[in-house]
Every structure is written in structure tokens, then in C-alpha cells.
Amino acid sequence: METAPAFSPKAVRGAIAALGVGVLLLAIGWYVGLFVAPPEHYMGEVQRIMYVHVPTAWNAMLVLSFAFLCALAFLWKNDWKWDARLEAAVEMGVLLSFLLCVQGAIWAKPTWGVWWDWDPRLTTTAVMLVAFVGILALRHLVDDPRKRAVWSSVATVISYASVPIVYFSVRWWNSLHQVQSTPQTVDSAMVTPLRIAALGMLFVWIAFVTLRSQLARRRLAQELAPPPFTTATVAAGGEG
């Protein structure tokens, strides 16, 4: 294993720029979606949460896929920068999944009268949330940097691989009870602000993940500092 990756000021500057772009796009997308676009036929104003919910859903999936790729990259290449990125991606994935579940509950209560409607996508998200919280817990409980990196990569790969099966089984289980699922199809007039908001969120999380992984790199550099190579031999007449 080589030395830890260096801190990169260029990446930080790029991240801050991306953050600026992202916030701007989000502001535009949400302004249009929340104030300008027409309300949906049946659900009225409540449906506007879609402008937050759908971008969050797309981006949560993207972040977790990115975490999966980082895990694979680390196991294959043994390069510490992938562990730093994995750490950042898992944290962001937990945050977005949590927000997704909260948004789902906020939508469900006025619509169905219950906080949780066992929608397959949302239920899968809840399961994934627990899985990735477990991975974060794993990272906190392991002190050795190499073991921490390897084990969390293994756990991430396995958790991600289970997503399709979890989703499929929940959807099937749900279909037997005929519960109305969260509508995901959106009217074409509403697609544009949706996409803008999603793009904005993409920039925002890329910015945060970059900054967070830089922090992780700094910590790794401290943990992986090479030994002091001072001479300290006791010469005693033999070969040194």
C-alpha cells in the first residue's frame, strides 16, 4: 500500500465552484417548481414535494452507485484515495436516504393519512439506509486504517449488490396487498424544473463529497505517516 493521497487545493476550489453552480440551479428549479409550475390535478399543492423528492431519489441512487464504484476501485487498485471517496460517499448516501424517507413520510401523511405507505422504492431506501448506517458504524468501530478500508469496501459491495433483490422482493410483497404506490410519473410541464433541480442537487452533492473526501485524505495522511528513518544501530563489531 502506498502513502496516503495528498490534499488537493485545486479540488477544493473546484468543489466550491460546483457548490455555487448547484445552489443556483436548485434555486431556479425550486422557484419554478414551487411557485410557477401548475399544481397537479388530484393532489394539489401537496404534490409539489415531488420537486424535492424526485431529485433526491435520483441523486441518492447516484451517490450510492458512486460509493459502490469507489469500493470496487479500492479493492482492485488498493489506492487510498478511493477509501477517502468511499467514506464521503457513504455519509452522503446516508444523508440523502434519510431525507428521502422523511420526504416520503411528509408526502404520505396528508395523502394517505399514514406516515408510511410501504411503497417499494421507499421501503428499499429505508433498508438501504440501515445498511449504510451499519457501514458507517463499522468505519467508526475499526481503528486500523487498512482493515477499515477493506471491510467497509466489502460491506458496501455486498449491500449494493442486494439493492435490486431487496427492491424486487419488497415490490412483490407489496403488490399482494394492493397499496397505492407513490406516483412517480410527472406531467411534461413539470419535467423541466424537476431536471434543473436534480442537476443542481447533483452539483451540490459532488461538491460536498469532494470536500469531505479531502478531509478524509488529510486524516489518512496523518494515520499513515511513514516511520522516522533515523539511524539507530548499535555497532558491535559485526555487520551492520
Partner: protein, 221 residues
């Protein structure tokens, strides 16, 4: 292959020697079934409907004890490191242990089955199907369970970490096994049990190779 057979023999022998502990785990599972029935109350109809589900919940919780135990024996005296020192491939160690754990969990399930029948009073004509589901379902618990138990056993908080890591992963197994078991016990007019069993098979087909591949990373230093 030979190494897998030798590792399997080793784990089965250890399991047999530790059968007192195994019985304690079974008693724990039975107690869980009893406690869960209290949560429902003495309503025979409801109990009958929930029996299949509770069987699997109890089995899942009891399995964490069994899985933790299988690695405790490897940790004391660093036996698993000894196996690696002999040049045994980590995947062979994994498959020997996962197969043995499958057997242990299957036996555990068979021991809990009569307890569930007594407490929850389901119809008995679907029992053969339930045994089949037990076989497939415990296989689904064993592979990821063995992997994560191997990982958790090396950390400070293994009692907490193993369930936390394992349970989200085996949600499909739980869903499919509960559905299939309930269908076998309560009647299956549309013949859906077979589809759930196929889902279990698919889960096993994905995770047995995947976990075997990744196990080496977990036990190496």
C-alpha cells in the same frame, strides 16, 4: 474442494462438540416465539396467520448467536490464522464454514418448527413445504451471515455490528421465506409459494459466490 470438505468436517465436528451451546440457542429461539405470541394475545386466528412470520423472526435473531459462536472458536487461540498459515485458501475456509452454518441453522429451524406449531396452531398439511423453505431460507442467511460474522468478530462491538450489518442484507430472505412459509401453512390457491422459493434460490445463487469471493479480504491482515 478437498479443503472445503476438510473445513466443513472441522466445523461440523466443532458444532457437535458445542451442542450444549446449540441447544441453548434453540431455547432462546423458542422463548422468542413465546414472547412474540404474547404481543399478539390469545386470538387463535391471528396467531395462525402470524406463525410463519414469527418463526423466521425468531430464527433470524437466534442465528446471530449461532454465527457469532462459530467465529468465537476461531478467534480463541487464533485458529483461523493457523488455517491460513497452512496455506488453505480463504474461500475454502468460507465455504466449509458457510455450509456447516447452513446445517446448524437448518437444524435450529427444525427444532423451532414444532414449538411454532404448538404455540401458533397452523394447519399441518403444508409442513413438507415449510421444511423446504427452511432449507432455502437458512442457506440465504448462512452465506452473508458467515461473511459478516467473520468481519464483526474482529471488532469491538460484534454483538451490535453483526445484526446491524446482516439484517438489511437479508430482508429479501425474510420476506420471501415468510411469504412462502405462510402460504404453505395457510393455503396457496394461486401457487405462489414456488415463485417465492425461486426468489430464495436466486438470492442464494448471487450471494454464495459473492460472499466466498470477498471472504478473503475479511480475514486477511
Amino acid at each position: 474442494m478437498r479443503a472445503v470438505a476438510a473445513a466443513f468436517y472441522k466445523d461440523v465436528l466443532l458444532g457437535w462438540r458445542g451442542r450444549a451451546q446449540g441447544m441453548a440457542v434453540a431455547v432462546f429461539g423458542a422463548t422468542l416465539l413465546l414472547l412474540l405470541s404474547f404481543a399478539v394475545g390469545p386470538n387463535a386466528q391471528t396467531l395462525r396467520q402470524l406463525g410463519g412470520g414469527f418463526l423466521w423472526v425468531a430464527l433470524l435473531f437466534a442465528s446471530t448467536l449461532a454465527l457469532t459462536e462459530s467465529f468465537r472458536l476461531e478467534r480463541e487461540n487464533r485458529a483461523i490464522e493457523g488455517l491460513l498459515l497452512l496455506g488453505v485458501h480463504p474461500a475454502a475456509i468460507f465455504y466449509g464454514k458457510a455450509l456447516a452454518n447452513w446445517l446448524h441453522l437448518f437444524v435450529l429451524g427444525l427444532l423451532l418448527l414444532p414449538v411454532m406449531v404448538v404455540l401458533y396452531d397452523p394447519a399441518l398439511d403444508g409442513i413438507a413445504g415449510v421444511v423446504g423453505v427452511l432449507a432455502l431460507g437458512t442457506a440465504g442467511l448462512s452465506a452473508p451471515g458467515t461473511l459478516h460474522a467473520g468481519l464483526a468478530s474482529q471488532t469491538r462491538a460484534q454483538q451490535v455490528l453483526l445484526p446491524l450489518l446482516l439484517f438489511p442484507l437479508v430482508v429479501p430472505v425474510l420476506i420471501a421465506a415468510v411469504r412462502a412459509t405462510s402460504l404453505c401453512l395457510l393455503g396457496d390457491p394461486m401457487g405462489q409459494a414456488r415463485s417465492w422459493a425461486l426468489l430464495l434460490l436466486a438470492f442464494d445463487g448471487v450471494f454464495w459466490p459473492l460472499c466466498g469471493l470477498l471472504f478473503g479480504h475479511v480475514i486477511e491482515e
